[in-house]
């Protein structure tokens, strides 16, 4: 008997982590994760920050450069062009992907059997790696050996990746093709969390499907939209592999977004200092963006939406 009482108390303490004394002990469990985070995220981050104040060709000795790299990169028209493109990719992919994934998510959240089959088909792109997608699209869009030539459809034989305007549109399309399934999955989960009772009440009040969508589904999905948008916009800062394989940043820098610019400067032109400056800029933009979007959700964004239902 005497042994079981403290044991049960310990159990109860563990079950309620907010309660005083045990928080410290529970926190120890985060230590391995913290160690990995410091070793593989914080240390390299500080390393990059230090590198941005040096000259290094990636091979020889590292020499201090003061603020020279920052001064040259911040006024470089090529960098500003790349930054503008990055923001444009971010905005356009949000505008294309959000409505599509929202509608698809709502649709696939239904229970009919054919929707399950369709949902599985929609999610196929999610299974492919960016490089594979890029290689496949490159082959399909080839003006001489691609889809248009193969099917004998001249309008498909555009110079998709060789014309600066078209190439940018193709990149936005392929990015959307790749990521819409993922965001659809998020929205599908979100929609399934919305209690049926709200819709039943609305139906009794005579609200139609469109009204239900705008007055119930969208407001109820507020936090899902914020989560999805955060992933989408911050993710846009890291698009690299797809564009690298698809266009290599060309033609004439039309798709040379900032992450690609960073890679080409660092690993092709052997300018690790300026490449590090761009890396730091990307981190800052990413953090600021994530913080802003989380603010949009208000203070209660981590609380359950079902409380009080």
């Amino acid at each position: 008997m005497t042994a079981t009482i403290p044991a049960r108390r310990a159990l109860r303490e563990n079950a309620a982590p907010v309660a005083g004394g045990s928080t410290g002990r529970i926190a120890w469990l985060a230590l391995p994760a913290l160690v990995f985070f410091v070793a593989f995220a914080v240390v390299p981050l500080v390393g990059v920050l230090l590198l941005s104040f040096t000259n290094w060709d990636g091979i020889g000795a590292i020499t201090p450069a003061g603020f020279a790299n920052w001064a040259s990169v911040l006024v470089d028209p090529d960098m500003l062009h790349a930054l503008g493109l990055t923001l444009l990719v971010m905005v356009l992919s949000w505008l294309v992907q959000t409505p599509m994934s929202l509608l698809l998510g709502v649709f696939t959240a239904g229970t009919q059997k054919y929707r399950t089959v369709l949902a599985v088909l929609y999610f196929l792109p999610l299974l492919l790696s960016s490089a594979a997608i890029a290689v496949a699209y490159k082959a399909l869009l080839d003006p001489n050996f691609g889809l248009g030539a193969g099917l004998g459809l001249p309008f498909l034989s555009q110079d998709w990746l060789g014309n600066p305007q078209l190439a940018f549109g193709v990149v936005i399309f392929v990015i959307a093709w790749q990521f819409i399934p993922f965001h659809t999955l998020i929205y599908q989960g979100g929609v399934r969390q919305i209690p049926r009772s709200i819709y039943e009440a609305a139906e009794i009040d005579g609200a139609g499907r469109v009204k239900q969508f705008f007055l119930i589904t969208i407001p109820q999905l507020k936090y899902t939209i914020i989560t999805s948008s955060t992933l989408m916009t911050v993710g846009a800062l890291t698009y690299f592999d797809l564009i690298f394989v698809l266009t290599g940043g060309g033609p004439a820098n039309a798709t040379r977004i900032l992450p690609l610019d960073m890679y080409l400067l660092g690993f092709r032109a052997n300018l690790m200092g300026p490449a590090s400056v761009i890396a730091v800029i990307l981190v800052v933009i990413g953090l600021a963006l994530a913080l802003f979007l989380q603010r949009l959700g208000g203070k209660d964004n981590s609380a359950s939406q079902l409380e009080g239902m």
């Binding site: 310990a10 070793a39 091979i59 490159k138 080839d142 003006p143 998709w160 060309g250 004439a252 080409l264």
Partner: protein
């Protein structure tokens, strides 16, 4: 007591799990790795893609059979991927024992960083190795008078190829001058055939055009000035003239539709020539082997033709001048152990460019950088093409090394970026020159 003991035991366990993981995580960044070779002996990285891949593999297999105690590890990479991989590996101290390269500006950056061994004295001790190879091939492997790399494989001039069948159908003759080129562009466009195939997304493919045009318009001195970093060297009148002529060719639809989205790594540009979608192609001599392998009976049936790059009316360059890769090279990493370096040098002396390798290269339609092989070339089926390559490679009055290899990586990347813009007409020749002048001496 017990309430205290339970969590601390957990802490201990989680730490016990984390510790070995952590050690593994840290060491894997530092001491071992694929290129370090501390476990597997000497290593060699080479480029994938036949016929060279098979030849290199056979050569290393034969070496390993003869030297079972000191085997060589061999890894293949795709061209563009390799250039990034090797730079990262060297920067991280993980280079393979033998570093494959193109000499020139990149080799100089390795030398400046103390990453490769000076081989001058080894060549003095082993004169038979040096005398066997083209003397001219050592140029791009020599930095400040010291030899840092051994020439390997083949001499690779850039060749003006054409599809004989399409020329016969059009009743046309291969071009001898630049105005011939421009009129052929009209001829083939009228017949619905693209005049020139080009894998423009790879960018160095477009660069080959500039190299020949600079030479034909202004002679070899124009690039020599650029190489030596003379102020405003890119603004030389001959350079502007050459750049303008290239843009005229682009505007006349000289290159196949969508050339900006074609990459050379996939050999799609060669396919355009042998499938009859394009009439001509300026490309490295290595594409001969590729077209022979992949082009069905195109090469075997004698449908592939080649001529020297056309002269430009009033130009200063000798039409016999060539551009391209004088050779590929292998250097020895200064970070390798003494045993690994010994193995590498043994491979240099015994296996590189030995009789088997020379025969294998000649059979694929390439000219190895080896002296005294004229007779072997004459005996082959491809003697006509190989003699042309041999002429270009060994007897050209001036042989310009590929610019992206001759220049420093920083200048080369800026060059390729500007070439991309020049070919889609988004910058003028003058803007090109201004942009490139900023990289002089960098």
């Amino acid at each position: 007591m017990e309430t205290k003991a339970t969590p601390s035991r957990r802490t201990f366990i989680s730490l016990a799990i984390a510790a070995p993981l952590l050690t593994w995580g840290l060491t894997s960044c530092g001491t071992t790795g694929p290129g370090g070779g501390s476990a597997g002996g000497a290593s060699l990285w080479a480029l994938s893609g036949d016929p060279n891949e098979t030849i290199r593999k056979n050569s290393v297999d034969a070496f390993n059979k003869a030297n079972p105690k000191t085997p060589l590890g061999l890894t293949f990479f795709q061209n563009d991927a390799y250039k990034t991989k090797i730079k990262t590996a060297i920067g991280a101290g993980q280079a393979p024992t033998m570093i494959y390269g193109w000499g020139g500006g990149t080799l100089k950056s390795y030398v400046d960083g103390g990453q490769v061994d000076d081989l001058t004295s080894w060549f003095e001790e082993n004169p038979e190795v040096k005398e066997r190879l083209f003397a001219g091939a050592f140029g791009a492997g020599t930095i400040d008078g010291k030899i840092y790399a051994i020439p390997i494989q083949t001499v690779q001039p850039i060749i003006f190829f054409y599809n004989k069948e399409l020329f016969e159908q059009a009743g046309a003759e291969p071009p001898q001058t630049w105005s011939d080129v421009m009129s052929l562009v009209t001829t083939f466009n009228e017949r619905g055939i693209a005049p020139f195939s080009l894998g423009g997304q790879s960018r160095w493919t477009s660069m080959m055009w500039l190299q020949y045009m600079f030479d034909r318009v202004g002679g070899p001195q124009v690039f020599t000035d650029i190489f030596e970093g003379k102020p405003d060297a890119w603004s030389h009148p001959a350079a502007i003239d050459a750049l303008t002529k290239i843009q005229e060719l682009v505007k006349a639809d000289g290159f196949i539709k969508g050339f900006n989205s074609i990459t050379a790594d996939s050999n799609a540009d060669q396919a355009l020539l042998y499938t009859g979608k394009a009439a001509m192609m300026l490309h490295g001599s290595w594409t001969y082997g590729g077209m022979k392998n992949d082009g069905g009976s195109f090469v075997q049936d004698g449908k592939l033709g080649w001529v020297p790059f056309p002269a430009v009316e009033g130009g200063l360059g000798d039409p016999k001048n060539a551009v391209g890769n004088p050779s590929n090279f292998l250097s020895i990493s200064s970070k390798a152990s003494d045993e690994e370096k010994e193995t590498a040098k043994k491979y240099f002396a015994e296996s590189l460019s030995n009789d088997d390798e020379v025969a294998a290269f000649i059979e694929t339609g390439a000219v190895p950088v080896v002296n005294g092989i004229e007779d072997m070339i004459q005996e082959t089926e491809e003697s006509e093409f190989l003699s042309h390559v041999y002429e270009l490679g060994a007897n050209a009055p001036a042989f310009q090394q590929s610019w992206d290899q001759a220049l420093s990586p920083t200048a080369a990347e800026e060059l390729l970026n500007n070439i991309d813009q020049l070919f889609v007409l988004s910058i003028t020749p003058e803007q090109f020159a201004t942009n490139m002048n900023e990289t002089l001496g960098k």
